[in-house]
Amino acid sequence: MSLLSSTTRGTITRATLTKDIRLEWRSKDALNSMLFFSLLVVVIFSFAFDPLAEESRRIAGGLVWVAFLFAAVVALNQTWARELRNQVLDAYRVSPAPPNALFMAKALGNFFFVSLLEALMTPLFIIFYNLRALGPAWQLIPIAFLGTWALVVNGTFFAAISLRTRSRELMLPLLLFPMSIPAVLGMVAGTTAILTGENSAHFWIVLLLTYDVVFTTACLALFEKVLEAE
């Protein structure tokens, strides 16, 4: 592995990433189902509580992130399943390409798709729930950025684990959700703090950053063991 220079790693990551984005662009399977799924969540939740401005400010943080979390699982499940079809993953395993490059490409690809989903769905949430932040709204950007990466980096990793199990589509949320509790709490509590303007979201941004650093390191350190588990 050490024979490969960092430029080769970069090339492999970029090649896999562009391939995945191109495939998704042609089919739009994951993106369409994610969008429709989160739209359904928006509508169904409106029956669960009265979407008045004051009430929705308290609940919207949880609502938005639960919708994105469930929708992200759709994309995450497809990450590796695509590579199984023609034994691409086996080919990758016997090739000298570094596993981390593949992992980074997949995680970045998922980050791109989930960010796109968020960018498209957020205006809809704002309209449907009459949202207006009372706190510093720009802080939502680091929360969204760090929170999405937190979901996606562990999600990509656990999707690779659940790929090796029976009933793999079922396994991913069972592994991902318990592990993501601090990240989800950070996203929800941070967003609520900004929307209501009652508390500072500073702690939650630091928490998400810590979570991201810890788990990105862990994923990169342990991905090879998962890919080569036999």
Binding site: I161, R164, M171, L174, L175, I181
Partner: protein
């Protein structure tokens, strides 16, 4: 070693009876809570035992990732299973005590919530072991255990901060504890540790036997007829050259 097992079983039974007697009869009655406080002698030792077993699981999982010794993997599996049992005891006895004392079954306090999350993480660990093939399960589970260990401090701090922003019920914290209660508590913990060791040991023996049987069956299907589950049956595209011969 095998002859030690009935001795340990006898010892554990005696210890548990003695600890029960200590907890129900010898220990002084708590002034404000009354007899319901005696559940403390089951709740706290179970919690300590569960945390100890989860720690054993982490050490065994890291050990397996480094050395790939199947015995260490069996230890990781067993400690997680017995740990989940004790953690369940903690989560069940807690509300039974909380209802008469706090007036509520459950509160989303930091210790309660993080114990619940710990339990969830280890249940997902056991699910992963159940759902994966025996060849891959050890590595995948060991990786998950490492992730869980990294997650626990983050869980604790996030919930601690989340809850300190909100009013929380007064927990019987602070104050001093009667030394006689301490003694009973430690006796109970010893008894619970023996019990955990006994359960872990018998589960370990069962797991080793299961693996031996599995290996023997795999060997038999390799040497004997082709009816055994081979790679081609599970994944027909793996060996196309064989059908072409």
């Amino acid at each position: 070693m095998k002859r030690l097992f009935p001795i340990l079983a006898m010892l554990t039974a005696l210890m548990l009876v003695y600890a029960l007697y200590q907890a129900l009869v010898v220990a002084p009655t708590e002034r404000t809570m009354g007899d319901v406080q005696r559940i403390f002698y089951y709740h706290v030792p179970s919690a300590w035992t569960a945390f100890l077993l989860f720690f054993v699981n982490l050490v065994a999982s890291v050990g397996y990732l480094v050395k790939r010794n199947p015995k260490v993997d069996a230890l990781a599996l067993v400690s997680a299973e017995v740990g989940v049992v004790f953690c369940t005891v903690v989560l069940v006895t807690g509300p039974i005590w909380a209802r008469p004392v706090w007036g509520i079954w459950w509160t989303w306090d930091v210790r309660l919530t993080s114990t619940l999350v710990l339990w969830l993480i280890y249940v997902s660990y056991l699910l992963l072991r159940r759902f994966s093939d025996s060849a891959q399960a050890p590595v995948l589970a060991a990786v998950l255990a490492v992730f869980g260990a990294l997650d626990i401090p983050l869980v604790y701090f996030s919930i601690w901060f989340f809850r300190t922003q909100h009013p929380q019920p007064v927990i019987g914290g602070g104050g001093s504890i009667d030394p006689r209660m301490w003694r009973v508590l430690l006796i109970n913990w010893m008894a619970f540790l023996c019990f955990a060791l006994l359960m872990g040991w018998s589960r370990y023996r069962l797991e080793s036997m299961r693996r031996e049987v599995e290996e023997a069956q795999a060997l038999e299907s390799l040497l004997g007829d082709d009816r055994g589950p081979s790679a081609e049956i599970r994944n027909p595209k793996v060996a196309p050259n064989r059908s072409g011969q």
